[in-house]
């Protein structure tokens, strides 16, 4: 009930986005379907006349069907860039198999005697096809098109990952923000669209079961009209931005930034978090969101725009642990605290770069840094039956590196064993593992603790106002009170959201801070 109210409230406040995304979704599906019918229809007919090609062609279509959709999109980005083109091509490839298979099955399923009689009466091959085979195969053909449609409506949600819009923007934003109402805000209309498309095609089929031309014409008129929704004029500006769903959805990210810096003339598209850096590097977009310590900033020659008005929330990293751990092993506290304040933004970026782009082992990178800091000690021999400290991490390089640092410190300076669990998918999984005692410690970020886990009221957020110390203090107090978990001192770096541009472009335009970006967009200078 609560979710339903939230869902309705979300729709009310995002009515324009809902309409735009639905329109985009319909347009993507319709365009892909139109092309799918245009490609697979004639190809299927050709296959009924060249039967030895049926195996190879249907085999290839089948293989395409098994490629995971996000992987397919990934393959298409280098070829077609971002936006509608890779999305439509991916959907087209997914619609091939059901349409092809049913065209072949439908035409070959027509009673041979009917075809022979028609030929014997003097129908040309084309007339046999148009007036006999296609009308009689129509129910099977339409079943294939309907299957392709439902698949397309589903897969089209992924278009949100390549800046093609659609209802996936809500869905992936909702997943990133752990916001069920937002997920439903996209998923419910997507499901309704699938049903509506399927029902509409079924109606078309029944209304004109005997009129192939009407069905074909109906599709030919309706699909381009629907697809045209995609090419409605879009806002254009001097720069194009590409943001991840979470960045767009969170009140303290893009909306906060827009009002703080007056960035209204920055048109943006939504992209998969994994794709934003590449999109910026390849020039598909000019401004992206990122994490300030990401190794790709250095690897791709990007520049972090200074958040000179402190509009973006702070994300200081700090270990979160179960207090029971320190009660049982008081010697551990000082060991862990050796890292406090030791890692600057640039130091962390550099370490991430070594792992992400030089493909060095996180452990080697971690130990190398510890040695340079004089913190490394060789592991002590473990006494039999020594207690074990269980360390957890999310699945990305920075967390792996931090984990290896803590593991090395504990092994070298205590008599405790270490067990690392690095496969914990995301924030929620790590947090739940810690809360339920399956791990003893993992590195967390103050902003994540605040926004994803605690989710305080806007009034509280206002009072914190993005001040790092205030946020840390609030998170530490609330975790202790609500979950009985302890935040140790921050490590020093702020892996916060930031805005990034290509260094070359930023230098050329003279943009070093978000304020300057705002001025540039407003036409100053």
């Amino acid at each position: 009930m609560n979710t339903l109210t939230e869902l309705l409230a979300f729709w009310r406040t995002h009515l324009d986005k809902l309409g735009q995304q639905t329109l985009q979704h319909v347009a993507l599906t319709a365009a892909a379907l139109l092309l799918g019918v245009a490609v697979a229809g004639p190809l299927g007919i050709w296959l009924t006349r060249h039967r030895r090609w049926q195996g190879p062609v249907l085999g290839v279509a089948g293989v395409l069907q098994t490629v995971p959709s996000i992987a397919l999109l990934g393959f298409l980005i280098p070829l077609l860039g971002i936006g509608a083109r890779p999305a439509i091509l991916a959907l087209l490839l997914y619609s091939l198999l059901p349409i092809l298979r049913n065209v072949v099955a439908g035409i070959e399923g027509v009673e041979p005697a009917v075809v022979e009689a028609a030929r014997g009466l003097g129908f040309t091959d084309g007339q046999v096809l148009r007036r006999v085979q296609l009308p009689l195969a129509l129910p099977v053909l339409m079943a294939g098109i309907r299957t392709a449609t439902v698949i397309n409506v589903g897969v089209a949600t992924l278009a949100a990952y390549v800046a093609a819009g659609g209802l996936g923007e809500f869905i992936f934003g909702g997943i990133a923000l752990n916001n069920p109402a937002m997920i439903l805000a996209g998923a419910v209309p997507a499901a309704a669209l699938a049903l509506a498309f399927d029902g509409g095609l079924g109606l078309l089929e029944r209304l004109s079961a005997r009129h192939l031309r009407a069905v074909g014409g109906g599709l030919l008129v309706a699909l381009p009209l629907l697809a045209a929704g995609y090419w409605l004029p879009r806002a254009t500006g001097r720069l194009q931005a590409g943001f991840s769903p979470e960045f767009v959805g969170r009140a303290d990210c893009l909306p906060g930034l827009t009002s703080a810096y007056n960035l209204r003339r920055l048109p943006n598209v939504v992209l998969a978090p994994a794709l934003v850096y590449e999109a910026a590097r390849d020039g598909h977009v000019d401004v992206i969101d990122g994490y300030s310590t990401d190794g790709r900033i250095r690897a791709y020659g990007l520049r972090v725009l200074a958040d000179d008005r402190r509009a973006l929330p702070p994300y200081y990293a700090a270990p979160v642990l179960r207090p029971q751990l320190l009660q049982a092993h008081p010697e551990l506290g000082p060991v862990l605290d050796q890292l406090s304040g030791q890692l600057s933004d640039s130091a962390m970026t550099n370490l991430n770069y070594q792992v992400d782009f030089l493909h060095r082992e996180p452990r080697a990178v971690a130990l190398g840094w510890l040695r340079r800091q004089g913190l490394y000690r060789a592991p002590r021999p473990l006494p039999p039956g020594a207690p074990v400290v269980r360390l957890g991490s999310k699945i990305f390089a920075e967390q792996y590196i931090l984990l290896e640092m803590y593991a090395a410190l504990i092994r070298g300076q205590t008599d405790l064993g270490v067990q690392t669990k690095t496969g914990l998918g995301g924030t929620i999984i790590c947090f739940e593992a810690l809360r339920t005692g399956q791990i003893d410690l993992y590195p967390e970020y103050t902003g994540t603790g605040l926004q994803v886990l605690l989710q305080p009221s806007p009034a509280v957020l206002d009072s914190l106002a993005g001040r790092p110390a205030a946020v840390y203090g609030y998170v530490k107090a609330q975790f202790a009170r609500r979950y009985g978990l302890e935040w140790r001192a921050p490590l020093g770096f702020n892996n916060a959201y930031c805005l990034l541009m290509r260094q070359s472009q930023a230098r050329q335009l003279g943009i070093a801070s978000i304020s300057q970006l705002g001025q540039y967009l407003r036409g100053g200078r």
Partner: protein, 351 residues
């Protein structure tokens, strides 16, 4: 003088290793009904399909109305040849009337004329257009569907009609009824008809001439009575053996029975010369004997001498002896004489 509608010369066709037609040559006269007869797999359907180019032969020529069929696009050729198949093959998504009107439509004939023609044909085939025209094929019985198939083949009034086992899928009673309609259709009397069947009774009932095929070559081509009375090979003789009696009754005319009637001693002298030789020796009786020359009595109807025994018996069965047009001794036969003559001839055949 008859003109040749179809001339087939040295036709050959292989399906892989299998020789289906091995140098087949024959002619069909305009207005003639030729039945392609033979056991399963003898090549008769393949032969029929070469005529409208549904099968392209490996060698030999086919001329229709003096023109090589290869000079025409297959579709154009087929539109001029009616075509009926065993499975009927009505287009299931079109109504009966639409099915019948297909070929005129392909030929671009005016819709109004086509509609009138469709209605007339359906009426003649006992499927009144008002009631049946709007139905879909699936709503018809097998016999009704085949009648529609026949109407469809005739709709554009083609001079030549090809039929491939048109009655083969029907139950015996329906088959007899549809066959009778077929035989009695004026349309077909004027047309050149090539019909494929494996049913010898059907062949004898419908054929002017029969072409008996075996393993891709012609065993014999001739009128039914020639095949029966003068078999060209042991194969031909054996082919008809099982049905001998029934077939004889179909080809034996009343005129041929006259000697037997004379043997009864009551045939008047004024009647035509006996043709007993035709029964005994098997020489063909191609022309029926002339009608009796003496003046008929006031109520008499001349006996139809050309009528077959089979047909005469059929009329007897329908109307009883009274239905048989015979008169008394004034130069005529009595019913009793005719019936006893039948008895004699039947026992002679059976011997």
């Amino acid at each position: 003088m008859t003109t040749t509608a179809i001339r087939v010369t040295n036709l050959r066709k292989h399906f892989g290793e299998l020789a289906v037609l091995q140098g087949v040559s024959f002619e069909v006269a305009a207005g003639e009904t030729l039945v392609l007869l033979g056991p399963s797999g003898c090549g008769k359907t393949t032969l029929l399909k070469t005529l409208n180019r549904l099968v392209e032969p490996d060698g030999g020529t086919i001329e229709i109305n003096g023109r090589d069929v290869r000079q025409q696009a297959p579709e154009q050729l087929r539109r001029g040849l009616g075509y009926v198949i065993q499975q009927v093959g009505l287009l299931p998504h079109l109504t009966v009337a639409q099915n019948v009107a297909l070929v005129p439509g392909l030929l671009g004939q005016p819709a109004a004329a086509t509609q009138a023609r469709t209605t007339a044909l359906l009426d003649r085939l006992h499927l009144p257009a008002a009631r049946f025209g709007g139905l879909l094929p699936a709503q018809l019985s097998g016999g009704q569907q085949q009648r529609v198939g026949l109407a469809r083949a005739l709709a554009a009034d083609p001079p030549i009609v090809l039929l491939d086992e048109p009655f083969g899928a029907l139950d015996p009673i329906t088959r007899a009824a549809v066959r009778r309609d077929f035989r009695e259709l004026d349309e077909l009397r004027r047309k050149t008809v090539v019909l494929v069947t494996h049913d010898v009774t059907e062949a004898f009932e419908l054929a002017d001439r029969i072409l008996l095929l075996n393993q891709g070559h012609i065993e014999q081509l001739g009128a039914p009575r020639e095949l029966l009375r003068q078999p060209a090979s042991e194969f031909v003789r054996q082919f008809f053996q099982a049905e001998q009696l029934g077939l004889e009754m179909r080809i034996t005319t009343l005129a041929e029975l006259r000697p037997w009637l004379s043997a009864l001693g009551s045939a008047p002298a004024s009647e035509p010369a006996p043709v007993a030789t035709s029964l005994v020796s098997g020489s063909p009786a191609t022309t029926p004997p002339p009608a009796p020359t003496s003046a008929p009595g006031p109520d008499a109807t001349p006996l139809p001498w050309a009528m077959s025994v089979h047909e005469t018996l059929g009329r007897l069965a329908e109307a009883g002896p009274a239905g048989l047009p015979v008169a008394d001794t004034g130069g005529r036969l009595t019913q009793g004489q005719v019936l006893s003559a039948f008895g004699h001839s039947l026992s002679a055949f059976a011997a």
